[in-house]
């Protein structure tokens, strides 16, 4: 080779694209009316390239992937346009031919690995079946290939894993198995539909890194469907931004992030919470000297499981193990950790939904040993906003009644005034009082969460617990709900216990925070202390794992974890070791 080497991108541009989508329109037929879900979508994908299709819910990104796989629901179909894979038009391919292509030339990974693996078959038998469906190989050969594939996705003891059932593996391992199955046949195109949305950040990082490494060695083209602009920035070469079934913008990721051409893209990128924005927002509120609104001293929550022959429990889940902290009036206290760390259980203990040991007090009243009336009175001081507003609202009750419900239960005002108060709450959270006669399903996700916030506000509590309250929302809606929470806090001097797995969101909203791991707090301090000077290795790992919505940060190295997270389930009598916290200065506690 001599002279100026053309760049890799230029080479790819010159080559024939692997997949060429032209004016693809996918429509749904509903009661005789045809409505487009995806309209005139066009893009090219070259071998070895990663194309991200990014967009919020309802943008048609998943429908696009299902259309390419030929897996559309029965009332949805491709109505015009082409999707040429190596010159073969996928939508017009008859089903038997498409079936042959699926798995061998085009493979797909879904969001939820538990539901895409068959729970009644072992990992091994599923892998062998999948391979033998496409190639006439012997069971033994397929088995060997399966073990090799598992080894490639760095699953420990692959021979052992082949004999295990999906439920015996962790979420990250299951997704790695899915990747191994998808890549076993060396597909030319891999479609990954929100492959890491259901996973913890540290696991997400590992799965995505793995995907990239495998891609580098196989020249497989990847379509990465995601709502997470951080994932787009770090793992995609080019991106297509979609909104309501139409392509808004497409281009190289670096250009797209540096100079978005469309207002929508700009708004979407602006709404993404970034680590560091919180510090820019200003100093955390000065600690109040008044009595804390909530105080936890050595709080523990245990669940006994299993039973021996005498009906005695054999194992104990140490969900929360000796947690102590205060929440001060008017502050936002963040609680971060990965799934299964006990943060939601702690929230439930605070509102009395699960029994606890140790001492928990809210507004000066200890939770333990309360009478029924006392429990009801506590509810006026502490309220909760759940993760999924659709599940947290009674689907058979109008939202007006739902918001008026706490007023009715606690008889805070006469019946005539109740509707007026509820209407006022509706206005307060940015909704129209004339929407009060509707039912929850008639609202969008963000509106529903506003309704839940209104319901929590009704009793004017001193503390609102937000348990992953914005995690299920699209970024733009998430930003609006966070702004609403902030505004309400300033007007009504409430405290928030803000529970989240998303480090960036917590950094944006919390004054102080605690990092939880396996039921215990490993680090606690003000936002600047924990984010500016993370001391515990687990905190650092969490921070490193957060995808950064900035393509310049691509290719950062990341220390891989050494195996699986230990389980909080232990034999009775075998209590976990407590990790004592020590103060490293100005109330910054580290285990």
């Amino acid at each position: 080779m001599s002279g100026a080497l053309p760049s890799v991108t230029a080479l790819r541009e010159a080559a024939r694209p692997l997949l060429s989508v032209r004016d693809l329109t996918v429509s749904v037929r509903d009661r005789g009316v045809t409505r487009p879900l995806v309209e005139n979508l066009s893009f090219d994908l070259h071998p070895g390239e990663t194309l991200a299709i990014a967009g919020e819910s309802g943008s048609g990104k998943s429908i696009t992937s299902l259309a390419l796989m030929g897996l559309l629901p029965h009332n949805v179909s491709v109505t015009s346009g082409q999707a040429l894979l190596d010159g073969v038009d996928l939508p017009s391919l008859p089903e038997p031919d498409m079936r042959r292509l699926r798995g061998s030339k085009v493979a797909m990974i879904f969001q939820e690995p538990m539901t895409s693996l068959n729970p009644v078959h072992t990992i091994g038998s599923q892998m062998i079946e999948a391979m033998r469906a496409h190639e006439p190989v012997s069971r033994g050969a397929a088995r060997a290939a399966g073990i090799a594939a598992l080894r490639r996705v760095r699953i420990s003891e692959p021979e052992q894993r082949m004999r295990q059932y999906p439920h015996e593996l962790s979420g990250g391992m299951r997704q790695r198995v899915m990747i191994a199955m998808a890549l076993a046949m060396n597909p030319a195109l891999l479609i990954a539909d929100e492959p890491t949305t259901a996973l913890d950040v540290t696991v997400q990082r590992e799965v995505l890194e793995l995907l990239r490494e495998l891609q580098d060695s196989t020249e497989t083209a990847v379509i990465l469907i995601t709502h997470d602009m951080g994932v787009v920035a770090e793992y995609a070469d080019r991106a297509v931004v979609m909104k309501a079934g139409r392509m808004v913008e497409s281009g190289a990721v670096a250009d797209l992030f540096a100079s978005p051409g469309q207002d929508y893209t700009r708004a979407l990128l602006a709404a993404v919470p970034r680590l560091g924005d919180g510090a820019a927002r200003g100093k955390p509120r000065p600690p109040a000297t008044r009595a804390p609104v909530a105080r936890l001293v050595d709080a523990q929550v245990h669940f006994d499981i299993g039973a021996n022959v005498f009906g005695r429990p054999t194992h104990r889940v140490h969900a929360v193990e000796g947690v102590s902290f205060d929440i001060r009036p008017g502050e936002t206290f963040g609680l971060v950790g990965e799934s299964g760390c006990g943060k939601s259980t702690l929230a439930k203990a605070l509102v009395g939904l699960v029994p606890h040991r140790g001492h928990i007090e809210v507004a000066g009243h200890a939770l333990a040993g309360l009478t029924t009336q006392g429990k009801r009175d506590i509810c006026r001081d502490v309220q909760m906003v759940f993760q999924d507003p659709m599940a947290a609202l009674d689907p058979r009750m109008t939202v007006g009644d739902a918001v008026a419900e706490p007023l009715l239960i606690h008889q805070v005002c006469p019946a005539l005034e109740r509707q007026a108060r509820a209407a006022e709450l509706f206005r307060r959270v940015g909704l129209m009082p004339d929407q009060m006669t509707r039912y929850p399903h008639e609202f969008s996700g963000g509106q529903r969460q506003r309704i839940c916030v209104a319901r929590a506000l009704a009793l004017q509590p001193k503390l609102i617990i937000c348990d992953e309250s914005v995690s299920a929302l699209d970024v733009s809606v998430q930003a609006q709900v966070l702004a609403l929470l902030d505004e309400l806090q300033r007007d009504m001097t409430m405290s928030y216990l803000f529970i989240s797995h998303d480090m960036a969101v917590v950094e944006n909203v919390a004054d102080r925070l605690a990092v939880m791991y396996l039921g215990q707090i490993v680090e606690m301090g003000t936002r600047d202390q924990v984010f500016g000077n993370p001391q515990h290795p687990y905190t650092r790992r969490l921070l490193e794992a957060v995808p950064v919505p900035d393509p310049a940060g691509k290719g950062r190295t990341y220390a891989r974890s050494k195996g699986e997270v230990p389980s909080p389930i232990r034999a009775i009598g075998d209590a976990p070791q407590r990790m004592p916290l020590r103060d490293i200065g100005h109330g910054h506690l580290v285990a």
């Binding site: 009750m397 509707r438 319901r455």
Partner: protein, 296 residues
């Protein structure tokens, strides 16, 4: 805010439940059949030409065969020369009482047991559900025969016997549904609002059981009508000569080939009535479901 301004388009204000029910053709069809049967049963004495248990002189042919439907006997006559039309109308009274009262009581017992067991749990729930399982394992017909034999058979006793053996399935289904409802997040949300147990039960759990109850209630009508027929056939149900749709079939089934109308007509009546209740029940379930609003 952008998100709040793009609300779902304002729908027409919801019409009354009646109005929305009557917009469904199948529901109207069901209502018509039920109205016809109820009207026939109530006004039977004014409609019929012959008393239901009178053996008419010209009700049998010269060879002692029942008469097929004709101008004189609208639906023909039975083996004893009684007018089938009269018997059908009077039998409708019996069948409706069984279908509605017996089934209603069964539904009530089943719901009570299921909801209490599912909501209270603990040992109360365990005892109730094990008792339900016991009842389920016991042959229902045998139990019904025993009960009917102990008491003096009469229409109301038969209705109670049927209720006592038919509540188990409802209890099982309602129990399962209640336990899963109690685990739902909006119930947890209610608890955090400080709602009392009775409020959660009556305002948030029972309304969600209504669709299931409607389905089981309407399906149960045909089951109970047929069970009454079986009991009558075995001699422990409604005693002859009181007619019921069930015992008309069983009295005449041996002559099915010679006189098909004697079995076909009451059979069709049971089928149509059950179908009508199912259609109305289905429509009612949809109309009462707020998530279906605007879909009709």
């Amino acid at each position: 805010m952008a998100e709040t301004s793009q609300t779902i388009p304002v729908q027409a204000p919801p019409a009354g439940i009646w109005h929305r029910l009557l917009r469904r053709k199948l529901a109207v069809f069901g209502f018509a059949i039920i109205a016809l049967v109820v009207g026939g049963a109530v006004f039977a004495p004014w409609i019929v030409r012959y008393p239901p248990d009178e053996q008419l002189f010209d009700g049998l042919s010269l060879f002692g065969e029942p008469m097929p439907p004709s101008r004189a006997f609208l639906l023909g006559t039975d083996l004893l020369g009684r007018d089938l039309f009269s018997r059908m109308l009077y039998g409708a009274q019996t069948s409706l009482i069984i279908g509605i009262v017996a089934n209603g009581v069964a539904l009530l017992i089943g719901t009570l047991v299921g909801v209490v067991a599912g909501f209270v749990r603990g040992w109360v729930g365990a005892v109730l559900m094990r008792f339900t399982d016991l009842m389920m394992a016991f042959p229902a017909l045998l139990l019904a025969i025993c009960l009917a034999a102990i008491f003096q058979p009469s229409l109301w006793i038969v209705a109670m016997v049927i209720a006592l053996v038919n509540w188990v399935q409802t209890a099982r289904v309602i129990y399962t549904e209640t336990t899963s409802l109690a685990e739902r997040e909006f119930i947890a949300a209610e608890k955090t609002l400080g709602a009392s147990r009775s409020r959660i039960l009556f305002r948030h759990i029972l309304p969600h059981l209504v669709p299931t109850l409607i389905v089981w209630g309407t399906l149960g009508i045909s089951v109970t009508v047929l069970l009454e027929a079986t009991l009558s056939f075995l001699g422990v149900g409604v005693q002859p000569p009181t007619p019921s749709w069930g015992n008309i079939i069983f009295e005449n089934q041996t002559y099915f080939q010679a006189a098909p109308w004697l079995v076909f007509i009451p059979g069709a009546a049971i089928l149509l009535l059950a179908l009508a209740f199912n259609l109305v029940g289905d429509a009612l379930r949809d109309v009462l479901d707020p998530t279906q609003r605007g879909n009709d």
